[in-house]
């Protein structure tokens, strides 16, 4: 019971607060703007030159009125906003009228989820192991070299790394397909060829995410381990004749992982933002590319849907990590 009250309850409250703040920001932002957002949006949509159904324009005006909260009092609008949210209804897409926004998002979502899950886990594991080793054996030459490389990659934003890989692989070593999620015209039947095709297409976006991610985790882990190494229990194990391998993997890295799990939870949002941009660079058919398309067509419903869903998704991810955390930290489990 104390575990629930002391550990779980604050996390769940935090989860609700994150979603509340995020959606409220999305609700409030369009109203703070000095211009009339509806007129502006319609102008922008018509300016694109694409033909839009008159029905779509009417619908657009209506949904915009609702979304921007221009119907009824402020409180009523806010209530309506939440009601729609609970139903998972973000209205129709303007660019692809009348397809619901949710449908478009649900097509792209699996691509992003798989890419993000895989790259985040891989870079977290690789970064932590390498960082732990480099922190423990910090006097070796290879540890310094690794640290130097990580130092140079870490501050470079996802976009630049992706662009660099694009330049490198598209023009200098053309091995991998540079854009898309699978070859055009390929049927979506589960077959070995399709899987290979998807992996080939996902390789470059995944690689650029892993490069940045690994160096970030490497640097923090190295720092954490270099503090752990000075602890008494490490010197005790060393003088007791425990092998270095044993110490690193069972004492040092294991203890260092705890703050890294918290770090993973806190940086999930940033990783997600990075993945959005990386997808756009490689035209990988995930949420990022969808978001980019919604920007260039002025598709507000889609943009809002993606924003709110990504806030909920990230918050849920953080909550899951928080719930799993006690499995790794006995201090919380037995309290």
């Amino acid at each position: 019971m104390t575990f629930f009250k002391r550990y779980l309850l604050p996390r769940i409250i935090q989860y609700l607060v994150v979603i509340f703040i995020g959606t409220t920001v999305v609700f409030v932002v369009p109203r703070l703007m000095p211009t009339d957002p509806i007129q502006q949006t319609i102008e922008r949509v018509t300016m694109q030159g694409t033909y839009i159904d008159p029905d779509a324009v009417e619908e657009l005006k209506e949904t915009l009125k609702e979304l921007y909260g221009l119907k009824g009092t402020l409180f009523e609008q806010y209530a309506i906003f939440w009601k729609r949210l609970f139903r998972g209804d973000f209205g129709p897409s303007f660019a692809q009228f009348p397809t619901p926004v949710m449908e478009l998002i649900s097509i792209s979502l699996p691509w992003t989820t798989i890419l993000l899950l895989l790259t985040t886990l891989l870079s977290w594991v690789i970064g932590n192991i390498l960082g732990g080793l480099a922190g423990y054996f910090s006097h070796y030459r290879w540890a310094r070299i690794l640290e130097g490389i990580a130092m140079f990659i870490r501050p470079i934003p996802y976009y630049i790394v992706a662009l660099g890989l694009l330049i490198l692989f598209a023009f200098i070593f053309p091995i991998f397909p540079v854009v898309g999620g699978a070859s055009i015209g390929s049927e979506f039947k589960l077959s070995w060829n399709l899987i290979i095709d998807i992996i080939e297409h996902a390789f470059l976006p995944a690689l650029s995410l892993i490069i940045v991610g690994t160096s970030t985790w490497f640097i923090t882990m190295r720092l954490i381990v270099s503090n752990i190494v000075t602890e008494d229990y490490v010197s005790y194990a060393q003088s007791g004749g425990v092998s270095n391998k044993e110490i690193v993997f069972h004492y040092v890295i294991r203890n260092g992982l705890l703050p890294q799990i918290t770090g993973l939870a806190l940086s999930l949002g940033q990783i997600f933002s990075g993945a959005l941009i990386t997808e756009q660079v490689f035209s990988y058919p995930g949420i990022g590319t969808l978001l980019y398309r919604s920007i260039s067509t002025g598709d507000y419903n889609l943009m809002m849907g993606i924003t709110i869903l990504s806030i909920i998704g990230i918050a849920t991810g953080v909550l899951i990590i928080d719930i799993v955390y006690p499995l790794f930290d006995p201090r919380i489990r037995y309290e």
């Binding site: 995020g22 501050p155 330049i167 949002g269 940033q270």
Partner: protein
């Protein structure tokens, strides 16, 4: 202050590297005031010229000189990041100080708020705001906007520092000798957190420049103002790579990389400077 910079420069390679590169970039930014070309006007030079003596970094497909355009871009990107840095510093320091010093339920409320800002994926929200504001998002506005979003992580760092300072003996001494809360914070605590603020400030500048690049690449900032982001945007959109105009795209990308690494090195070296263990090492080096 100056002697600190001098010792840092002498004994910390990271600081020396970062400081040198930043100085060069600032020098380039200052050069923009002497530029012979107006960055907003097109077709002042022949198009697509490769680097030559007359145009040291070539020209763009819009007839702009890449070198002078880059000087403007560095100036604007630095300017924007400094605005964002100042605003986010004010919020971060205020939140961190109040939460750390007052503690209790106020601390809990502020930190819940704070953590929410850390967790929320900012890019989609910034994209939403930027696309509503489209066109109105000049350097100053973008700097202010980023400033309002980029404080959360640093507020947490400052708070934890204040928390540990609050338990130190000199706090009790000051309190018992009748010092006011405001002067304890300003006179006793601020000197401790100034270097911390500096280190986080560099990180925030880095983040702001990166966000600007991201938004510009998506076409969401004022594209006629030269920044590192808009330079990349135009060169990517004009297919400069496919056309083989590598000097146009590589210039902003390489400047970005140097800028990011040098700011990061400065931030890391200041943090190392703060760490008492590395301070011991430094004294040993100086004795030798």
């Amino acid at each position: 202050m100056f002697s600190t910079i001098k010792t840092l420069f002498k004994y910390n390679k990271k600081f020396a590297f970062g400081f040198t590169v930043i100085s060069i970039l600032v020098f380039l930014a200052i050069l923009s005031f002497f530029s012979p070309y107006d960055p907003k006007v097109w077709n002042l030079t022949p198009r697509d010229l490769p680097p030559s003596i007359q145009h040291p970094l070539g020209t763009t497909s819009m007839g702009q000189d890449v070198f002078w355009l880059a000087t403007y871009a560095i100036k604007n990107s630095l300017f924007l990041s400094i605005i964002s840095m100042f605003i986010s510093r004010i919020i971060a320091i205020a939140v961190g100080l109040v939460a750390g010093y007052k503690g209790g339920s106020l601390d809990r409320i502020l930190m819940t708020l704070n953590d929410s800002f850390v967790i929320i994926p900012l890019l989609p929200i910034l994209i939403l705001i930027a696309s509503v504001l489209k066109g109105g998002l000049n350097i100053v506005n973008l700097g202010i906007l980023l400033g309002f979003f980029g404080w959360a992580w640093d507020a947490r760092v400052i708070r934890s520092q204040i928390l540990s300072l609050r338990e130190r003996e000199f706090t009790y001494t000051a309190r018992l000798s009748g010092m006011k809360t405001s002067s304890i914070i300003l006179k006793e605590y601020l000197p401790f957190i100034v270097p911390l603020i500096m280190a986080t400030a560099m990180n925030n500048m880095l983040w702001a420049i990166g966000m600007e690049v991201t938004l510009a690449i998506l076409g969401l900032s004022s594209l006629e103002i030269p920044t590192l982001g808009t330079m990349i945007h135009w060169s990517v959109n004009s297919q400069s790579l496919l056309l083989g105009i590598w000097w146009w795209i590589l210039t902003p990308v390489i400047i970005c990389i140097f800028l990011f690494i040098s700011l990061y090195m400065l931030s890391v070296s200041i943090s190392e400077f703060l760490d008492p263990r590395s301070r011991l090492k430094r004294i040993e080096v100086m004795k030798e």
